[in-house]
């Protein structure tokens, strides 16, 4: 229970300093995430600070991404200083402290909850071993980042849903003050695990305390359960309803696990083609980024969404390689296409940045038909965005 209230400062001076540092960190996080912030890719810094995301991502993908170093540094610090991140940096924790005091003032009392956080971490890491980090989306920094969905250009249902995680956590902390930070938060629990793990390494193995042996039992159990569930997800998951994912996204079953739903990719997209999945592709995919080319397309010179993904669900892509990464392939519905009625339309071929569409005359139909060169086409959706037919587009990009 000693982890439950880590926020109490030893003296007032230290308390004031901590208040100052935390305010500065909150301000810095807001500045980095604000959609209008001029800093290039600064939105990556906040969710990438999480060592939980960094480690789970590294285990799941079997590679150490460039973005992981921030989380790794934080991880090393908390090895030495327990819950240092929570006490001094976490912008989410700072907000939740405020919510907690409000709860106290409203007469709410903290409630005894089992240490859910540790189970979340263990399940997730266990799942990550099979490539599917189950509950990575509960990372508090990703939830905090999700609030900034409200800054999206099209303030629709999806933007509000992106912010619901934060609202829910806030509500929980008002109702039962500090229950999130102390008992549920996987990032907090991860720090605890890291710290106690490092301590147990420091001591002689024979002198294990009862608490530590309980922890290792729990660890084995949790990891096994996580791996088991990930295995079931992998078996049950079908690629049939696979949505269109941002360029260079990982394989679908891994993507939905790795994605923290932070919404960074949505906000980084200059053409606004990334939307949140609102349940059209199964529960596992809920709130993950999907592409919609009704209004715009995935520009041939843009790799911004790949640069801001904190967990590596979308793999960082150099601009020069963009033109060789396939997103999908378009399919033409000749029942809708204007060419079937011999109308003067050449919108899809004109807009295609890869010169992949030709109109071929069919002697049999005595009409033209768009023909897509699958070697040239990258599925950027320029054709779909340009297609003038309503309400159904005659050319639609589908997952390849």
């Amino acid at each position: 229970m000693r982890h439950a209230r880590p926020e109490i400062a030893p003296d007032r001076k230290r308390g004031r300093l901590r208040l100052l540092v935390r305010s500065a960190c909150l301000l810095a996080a807001v500045a980095a995430l604000w959609p209008l912030a001029p800093g290039v890719n600064s939105s990556l810094w906040v969710p990438a600070l999480s060592p939980f995301v960094a480690l789970a991502g590294a285990i799941a993908t079997r590679e150490l991404q460039a973005v992981a170093w921030l989380g790794m540094v934080v991880g090393v610090v908390v090895l030495v200083k327990r819950r240092f991140f929570c006490r001094w940096v976490c912008p989410m924790g700072f907000c939740l402290d405020g919510a907690g005091s409000l709860g106290h003032r409203l007469g709410r009392r903290s409630v005894h909850v089992p240490l859910l956080g540790q189970w979340i971490v263990l399940l997730t890491l266990g799942g990550a071993c099979l490539g599917y980090p189950l509950l990575l989306w509960l990372d508090p920094l990703a939830i905090f980042t999700g609030v900034f969905s409200l800054g999206e250009r099209h303030l629709g249902c999806a933007a509000w849903l992106g912010a619901t995680g934060f609202a829910a956590v806030l509500a929980v902390n008002i109702a039962w003050p500090n229950v999130w930070c102390g008992r549920i938060c996987p990032l907090g629990a991860f720090q605890d695990l890291l710290h106690s793990g490092s301590r147990s390494l420091r001591f002689v193995p024979g002198r294990k305390s009862e608490g530590e042996s309980r922890l290792s039992r729990r660890a084995v159990l949790g990891v096994a359960a996580g791996a088991g569930s990930a295995g079931i997800v992998g078996l049950v998951h079908s690629d049939k309803r696979r949505p269109l994912r941002p360029p260079n996204a990982r394989e679908e079953s891994q993507f939905v696990g790795l994605c923290t739903r932070c919404g960074n990719c949505l906000r980084s997209c200059p053409t606004g083609v990334i939307e949140r999945d609102l349940g059209g592709h199964g529960w596992a995919s809920l709130l993950t980024p999907v592409l919609s080319f009704r209004e715009g397309y995935c520009r041939e010179d843009c790799v911004r969404c790949t640069e801001v993904c904190p967990s590596g669900a979308i793999v960082c892509l150099p601009t020069r390689n963009k033109a060789s990464v396939r997103i999908g392939l378009p399919r033409v519905d000749m029942n809708v296409c204007l060419l079937a009625e011999d109308r003067e339309c050449s919108a899809c071929a004109r807009w295609c940045p890869y010169d992949a569409i030709r109109y071929v005359f069919s002697e049999e139909q005595y009409a033209l038909q768009p023909q897509i060169d699958p070697d040239k086409c990258m599925g950027c959706g320029a054709c779909e965005a340009a297609c003038p037919t309503k309400p159904h587009k005659a050319i639609v990009v589908l997952p390849a």
């Binding site: 079937a340 011999d342 003067e344 919108a347 004109r350 109109y359 005359f361 003038p388």
Partner: protein, 450 residues
């Protein structure tokens, strides 16, 4: 009342007798030239054996055309070759800008593919958001069509209107005559008259034989770039779909009660009730190759006939009939000029503005933003005294389907006409023309430049 009636009757009688006298005098004149007699026709001239004939000869397996002197039909400031949407607007614009203008057209009517090709749906006068960028003389034509009964439908903001071809031919005759343009129909421009790199006029072939028109500036509104190509200007020769439009009638007599699905390719409505026009895009071929053009004409007519028969076998559609196929084959793009500047898709996407802008282009369904047309896209890179107008202006291949739209032809025709008049009046080459002056006149003529 009675008195005035009597006076009018009296005048009528006088008029008829005057006409009769005139007719009699021609007849007597004709009779003095030839031997033949008869009321219905008269002899204009009779052929004598000519000793100074200069026919082509067939020697050593080669056909040789000897050089000969040609009659000069006309001398003018601005000569517009081609009487389609671009040429007609160019001629009117140049005349209104104060130049002496001559317009020649290979067929017997104005409007080009708009009328002769039955391209009745006018696509391309709007941009994204529905703003109309085709203004000036092109818009004046549309407004005049508005005033006529049954000449145009769907004339609403943001919508593509459909016209009646005969109404367009009529309005164009009216406007050309009002402007005071010298016109020669049934004249096919066959050769540019060139001195070094400067065009000085054009040679025509017609029933009157091979004749020349000498001009200070020539506007090439042939669509195929016939003039600049023969003058030696650089161009790109492209293939595109060559189709044939047709009209079908009795669509107001369809019996919609039978349960069978509606036939395909029923086209879209026209100002004539019960008559639809049906587009046909055809295969991508070389629109300059006469054997290809012949094959297209014949294949398309066979297809259209059989297709209509199929339509008539659909229950409820038995009375639908083929009213006409267009007199003119639907050639979309052939030669495209290599100009001082080129209209590009990247410029369209970027919304590039040009200091020498002479017009703004629209798109089929308002799918693009406005794209500026620089004056340099009308001016050949090397050859002087000729300006391109219409679908053959300097544009990259991906812009072809926008450049060739009727309203965009109005816009480039308008610009070429005014620029030609300014060059002729200022005595300079078109490439040296004062573009600011051209822009001022275009604005005065209500063209849209932004």
């Amino acid at each position: 009342m009675n008195d005035s009636m009597n006076r009018r009757d009296c005048l009528k009688v006088l008029g008829i007798s005057g006409l009769a006298t005139g007719l009699g005098s021609t007849q007597s004149q004709a009779q003095s030239v030839g031997e033949s007699s008869g009321f219905q026709s008269s002899v204009i001239a009779s052929r004598k054996v000519q000793s100074d004939r200069v026919n082509a000869t067939f020697t050593d397996g080669k056909v040789i055309q000897p050089s000969r002197e040609l009659a000069i039909l006309d001398t003018t400031d601005v000569l517009v070759v081609g009487g389609g949407p671009a040429g007609v607007v160019a001629a009117i614009a140049a005349r209104r800008a104060g130049a002496k203008v001559t317009l020649v057209e290979r067929y017997g009517h104005f409007g080009g593919l708009w009328t002769g090709g039955l391209v009745l749906l006018v696509l391309g006068h709007i941009v994204k958001g529905g703003r109309q960028v085709c203004q000036g003389i092109g818009e004046e034509i549309m407004r005049r069509l508005d005033k006529l009964d049954g000449a145009i439908i769907d004339r609403k903001p943001g919508v593509n209107p459909t016209v009646d071809a005969e109404a367009v031919k009529y309005v164009m005759v009216e406007m050309i005559e009002e402007a005071g343009v010298q016109v020669f129909l049934h004249c096919w421009g066959v050769d540019a008259i060139v001195d070094g790199d400067a065009v000085q006029g054009v040679v025509f072939e017609s029933k009157s034989g091979r004749q020349a028109i000498v001009a200070k500036v020539v506007v090439d509104a042939t669509g195929d770039g016939d003039v600049f190509a023969s003058a030696g200007a650089e161009f790109e020769h492209r293939s595109h779909n060559v189709g044939l439009v047709y009209r079908i009638g009795n669509l107001d007599r369809i019996d919609k009660t039978p349960d069978s699905p509606a036939p395909k390719r029923i086209g879209s409505h026209t100002p004539v009730p019960g008559v639809n026009w049906v587009n046909l895009r055809g295969p991508e071929v070389d629109g300059l190759d006469v054997a290809t053009l012949t094959r297209m004409e014949m294949n398309h007519r066979k297809y259209i006939w059989s297709h209509i028969q199929k339509t008539r076998r659909t229950p409820g559609y038995e009375r639908v009939y083929l009213m006409e196929t267009a007199p003119q084959l639907g050639v979309r793009i052939t030669r495209v000029l290599r100009g001082l500047k080129t209209v590009t898709l990247d410029d369209l996407k970027a919304g590039t503005t040009f200091p020498d802008v002479v017009g703004v282009g629209g798109s089929e369904n308002g799918g693009h933003g406005p794209w500026q047309i620089p004056y340099g896209a009308l001016v050949p890179a090397k050859i002087d005294n000729v300006l391109a107008a219409g679908r053959c202006i300097s544009a990259e291949i991906r812009m072809a389907d926008l450049v060739r739209l009727i309203p965009n032809c109005f816009v480039t025709g308008h610009a070429a006409g005014v620029a030609g008049a300014v060059a002729a009046q200022d005595g300079c080459r078109p490439r040296e023309v004062d573009v600011a002056k051209v822009q001022t006149i275009l604005r005065q003529q209500e063209a849209c430049l932004a």
